[in-house]
């Protein structure tokens, strides 16, 4: 294959079994087939050593707010589990209870409370427990919001006329409870962004409220989601047909069907794919609309090559979100495993006739007489 001769991609990328077909109005070969019994004589049973060998995780871009990384060699069900967990099961802290003492602004209590709930806070959730019933210093943060708007007495004509015209997220005052003062001494709880406008006031209007922030997860309410987005897409692949090359006089038109930089045109009108920029391809399928390019090119995606893009919003650094998701996943597995082991112990008890009816069971329970 001409396009792959000087490839930056590993050769295994061209294995047709890894390809999802992208056609004008449909996709093909979406589901993975690598299961035991699907291909005669091939072993596709779970093998950790083989998995380790094929797995490739590589970070591509990192900023203070977002990260992009490749996860290669896993099934969509695994990649999707991590994506779903990042969106809805990694915990954060958000305002849950609002006690309104006074609100004479034009914005209703309910709307204001909803807006307050959505403010991302900079508090590390790992320092908190989930609140069960009683608010404690281990599970609840208290803020006060106390703002009154007034006219500036000697305001210049074109300068600001009012003080506290805007209520901003930076106006939240943290009220330490119990041990919190020492725990959060180095990083006092506040909004991650101090400039979010919560309400607008005019002279004489007042907002006075107490806010309780607790730990929660995104599946209960999106305000507890630690990410702005967490998505993945499959790595694109463009295969040129060596037996039907693109006519040189149409080479520029062909190149313009793809994202810039993806298709290279040589001075004599030969087209080739630049693998280094292949991941930028948007897969617009524009090339499939033109009759003259029919049969010249095939569009594919690589089924097990996930390009993750995660934007953090809240206390976690972007690079720590994925490991947190893995931690949550392992927690879920552990809890199911515990329940399944208890079930296994129970089934053994039923199988072997109880020799001694008195005394504790395998699970430590003592049976009641005559129950």
């Amino acid at each position: 294959m001409a396009s792959s001769s000087s490839s930056h991609l590993p050769a295994s990328v061209f294995n047709p079994r890894r390809h999802v077909g992208v056609h004008a109005e449909r996709v093909s070969d979406v589901a993975s087939t690598e299961f035991p019994g699907h291909y005669p004589g091939e072993d596709h049973s779970w093998n950790l050593a083989k998995f380790k060998e094929n797995l490739k995780v590589s970070v591509k871009r990192l900023s203070q707010r977002s990260v992009e990384f490749d996860l290669v060699g896993v099934d969509a069900s695994i990649a999707n589990a991590f994506r779903r967990i990042m969106l809805s099961e990694v915990p954060t802290i958000a305002i849950e209870d609002v006690f309104v003492f006074n609100n004479t602004s034009v914005i209703h209590d309910e709307i204001l409370s909803h807006r307050l709930g959505l403010i991302p806070l900079n508090v590390d959730p790992r320092l908190f427990e989930f609140r069960q019933d009683i608010p404690l210093d281990r599970n609840t943060l208290v803020f006060r919001l106390n703002v009154t708007c007034e006219r500036i007495k000697k305001a210049s004509k074109d300068g600001p006329q009012y003080i506290n015209e805007y209520v901003r997220s930076g106006d939240l005052e943290w009220v330490p409870q119990g041990e919190q003062e020492s725990v959060f001494a180095s990083n006092p709880p506040a909004a991650t962004n101090k400039d979010i406008v919560i309400a607008k006031l005019r002279p004489g209007q007042t907002i006075e409220m107490e806010l309780h922030a607790i730990k929660g997860v995104g599946k209960e309410h999106a305000k507890w989601s630690p990410v702005a987005t967490a998505t993945y897409r499959l790595h694109p692949l463009i295969l040129l047909n060596p037996s039907k090359p693109v006519p040189p006089h149409l080479a520029q038109k062909f190149a313009s069907c793809f994202s810039s930089g993806v298709v290279k045109v040589s001075p004599d009108g030969q087209v080739s794919i630049d693998d280094r920029h292949l991941r930028k391809e948007t897969m617009s399928r524009e090339v499939l609309r033109h009759k003259e390019f029919e049969g010249c090119v095939e569009l594919k995606r690589i089924r097990d090559w996930f390009i993750f893009s995660v934007e953090s919003e809240g206390p976690y650094t972007p690079e720590s979100l994925f490991p947190e998701a893995i931690k949550v996943m392992r927690g879920k597995i552990a809890s199911i495993r515990e329940a399944a082991e208890a079930l296994l112990a129970d089934s053994h008890d039923l199988g072997a006739a109880p020799a001694a009816s008195s005394g504790p069971d395998a699970d430590g329970d003592v049976e009641m007489d005559g129950a």
Partner: protein, 111 residues
């Protein structure tokens, strides 16, 4: 409060030797359902495995497992859970390794 819902319940209609059974897993969703289904299907002793979310407002999934040779589906479930945990550890290690050792673009994003 009444008795807490068990994390896993075997639905009625299961074979007595558990060679075919449907497990109802409480407080789980597609997140675990699909990943666990995939890992169970990777086991050659599993004849069939599928899961469903019976109703979006009910907080549980049903996982059906049927085994070859009268083997226990519960053992297969436990093995799949263990394998899934190994997979998580492997991915975590690979990610951490890449984060610490790879050369990648660092850029300044204004918020």
């Amino acid at each position: 409060m009444a008795e807490a819902t068990p994390k896993i319940r075997i639905l009625k209609g299961a074979e007595p030797d558990l060679s075919a059974a449907t497990y109802q897993i409480h407080d789980e969703s597609h997140t675990i359902g699909n990943a666990l289904r995939w890992m169970l299907m990777k086991n050659p002793k599993v004849e069939f495995c599928g899961y469903s979310v019976p109703h979006p407002s009910e907080n549980h999934i049903n996982m059906r497992i049927q085994m070859y040779d009268g083997l226990s589906s519960l053992t297969a479930l436990l093995e799949a859970l263990k394998n899934l945990d190994d997979l998580c550890v492997t991915i975590d290690d690979a990610y951490t390794h890449s984060m610490e050792n790879d050369r990648y673009e660092r850029w300044d994003e204004k918020s």
